[in-house]
């Protein structure tokens, strides 16, 4: 978190850029293992030829929590919900936005979004309830 604002994290910030454009992706090896960037080697099998593949539009919340005691970087955001959503080839951790925190539940269908921290203005991987 202490990186100079000017300096990007190659791979990660590129992914956020793509997600902002509705083009979130994951990396796939020839064996079909999915992973998230930045990555040169498949963590499951060691394959080095990884291709970008389009992330499925919706994922399903597998578990979530509402955090009341945050790190200083999220001081003004709390309470906020963090969830792990399963998109099939990969799971992603993100903040659940656009929903009453009380109504979040396992199995909720979500889409990837990029929100902005109220505390730091930094970009945050987010989930929004999918339109039914």
């Amino acid at each position: 978190m202490s990186d100079d604002e000017e300096v990007q994290d190659a791979g990660f910030d590129d992914w956020l850029d793509a997600a902002e454009d509705g083009e979130a992706y994951y990396l796939e090896c020839p064996e079909g293992h999915g992973s998230l960037p930045p990555r040169r080697v498949c963590p499951d099998c060691g394959a080095t030829d990884l291709d970008e593949r389009e992330l499925p539009d919706t994922g399903e919340i597998e578990t979530f929590t509402v955090t009341h005691v945050p790190t200083p970087a999220f001081e003004d955001d709390a309470p906020y919900a963090t969830a792990i959503a399963n998109f099939g080839p990969v799971r992603v951790t993100g903040q659940v936005v656009g929903i009453d925190l009380e109504t979040i539940e396992n199995g909720l269908e979500v889409t990837i979004d990029v929100a902005v921290s109220e505390t730091t203005d930094e970009r945050v991987v987010a989930f929004e309830p999918a339109e039914q």
Binding site: M1, T67, V69, P70, T71, A73, T82
Partner: protein, 389 residues
């Protein structure tokens, strides 16, 4: 495989001493460990030292030599960092070093200064054990990570917050007469359920405190212990370590800890014991749910049943397998880098009959120490056995 004797143990009180430097804390623990061991400092051939957040809390890197100096030991020293399993990994490598004949005496331990950071600062420092890009930047804290695991556990196996509350109550009860413990006060289930939420479903009393403290062990080869007529009745007979993907979302399973299972299986096989032989254990209960996952990984409880162990009395002081008779991280405190070594110290004293809670386990001969880092991306398990005075 020759055994490694625990010749001496030393602990500082765990608690809230923000002004004390980690070099001062570690020095105190080593003075106690050397006194307990009867081993002269000049016989130490290496120091393995665990510490997690020294750069953040004390602006101090390169702590190995600093801590050797603090201990009055002139030997090469290396710092081990594996988040909350830092000194568990240090103990493991010390055991391996002695077993392979490269050393007869190793000083091992760890220290952490945390409370000077305040709650928000310590929360931030602990969070760096997670994946910075994919977890921390999404706002995940450590209580948050374990809350995600707890929620996933409830979803898959059932259980409720009240089950977890019984773990906190048990561990506070166990710490009542542990003079080194941060909390020597009883709590009840209502206290846990009504405490402020940290990260749902976990509240303040599901979480271990932020602690300062240190632990040290003098480990020797069996030959050294015999040649020097040491009073060292407990041996480390099994060691194991497991690893996993760093980010919780990359695990095969969100409500299990396979790295700890791997470490446990390796340690049991190494010692030639099975889970059924375990008389007591100190497990890494940084949050109440973590004790459940630990017991299941160690096969002390079946998968999906660990949630009820404390509530049904199987793991209480007078239960079948008492767990965390020291009070655990929950009540004894969790100075991160010291925890793994402190667990070995507690199990040693329990088996030797030198612990305030030894009266609950008069016939115990086999104990286990389970130390976990992050959301259990690192885990070490050690088997200790009473080999006699």
């Amino acid at each position: 495989m020759s055994n490694v004797r625990v010749a001496g143990t030393g602990l500082t009180p765990f608690g809230n001493t923000p002004e004390r430097t980690s070099r001062d804390l570690f020095a105190e623990a080593t003075v106690a460990a050397f006194e307990d061991s009867g081993v002269p400092r000049e016989d130490v051939e290496a120091l393995f030292y665990g510490n997690f957040m020294g750069e953040l809390s004390e602006h101090q890197g390169h702590q190995g030599p600093l801590m050797a100096e603090a201990a009055g030991v002139q030997a090469p020293a290396t710092r081990y960092e594996a988040a909350c399993a830092s000194s568990g990994t240090a103990v493991r490598d010390a055991v391996v070093r002695i077993r392979n004949g490269e050393a007869d005496v190793v000083l091992v331990g760890g220290a952490e200064r945390m409370t000077n950071l305040g709650t928000a600062g310590a929360t931030e420092a602990l969070a760096i054990a997670a994946d910075d890009l994919w977890e921390v930047r999404a706002g995940m804290t450590f209580p948050g990570a374990y809350a995600l695991m707890a929620q996933a556990y409830f979803e898959e196996f059932g259980g409720e917050h009240e089950d977890l509350a019984h773990i906190a109550v048990k561990n506070h009860e166990n710490a009542l007469n542990n003079e080194k413990a941060q909390y020597q006060s009883a709590i009840d289930v209502e206290d846990v359920l009504e405490a402020p939420q940290v990260s749902s479903p976990l509240g303040l009393y599901d979480s271990c405190p932020i602690s300062d403290g240190a632990a040290a062990l003098v480990l020797t080869s069996e030959e050294y212990a015999e040649d020097h007529d040491l009073d060292a009745p407990v041996a480390i007979t099994g060691t194991g370590q497991g690893g996993d993907r760093l980010a919780l979302h990359d695990r095969d399973h969100l409500a299990r800890s396979p790295a700890a299972r791997e470490a446990g299986e390796e340690a049991y096989a190494d010692a030639g014991v099975s889970a059924a032989d375990v008389d007591l254990a100190e497990v890494h209960d940084c949050f109440t749910i973590a004790e459940v996952l630990a017991l299941e990984a160690l096969d002390i409880e079946q998968v999906g049943e660990g949630i009820s162990a404390a509530r049904e009395g199987r793991t209480t002081a007078d239960g079948e397998t008492p767990i965390n008779l020291s009070g655990g991280l929950k009540a004894k405190g969790h100075p991160v880098g010291a925890t793994g070594a402190s667990q070995i110290a507690e199990v040693t004293k329990l088996l030797a009959g030198d612990h305030p809670n030894s009266e609950h386990v008069p016939d115990a001969t086999t104990g286990v120490a389970h130390n976990a880092g992050g959301t259990v991306a690192s885990a070490t398990v050690h088997v200790l056995e009473e080999v006699g005075r």
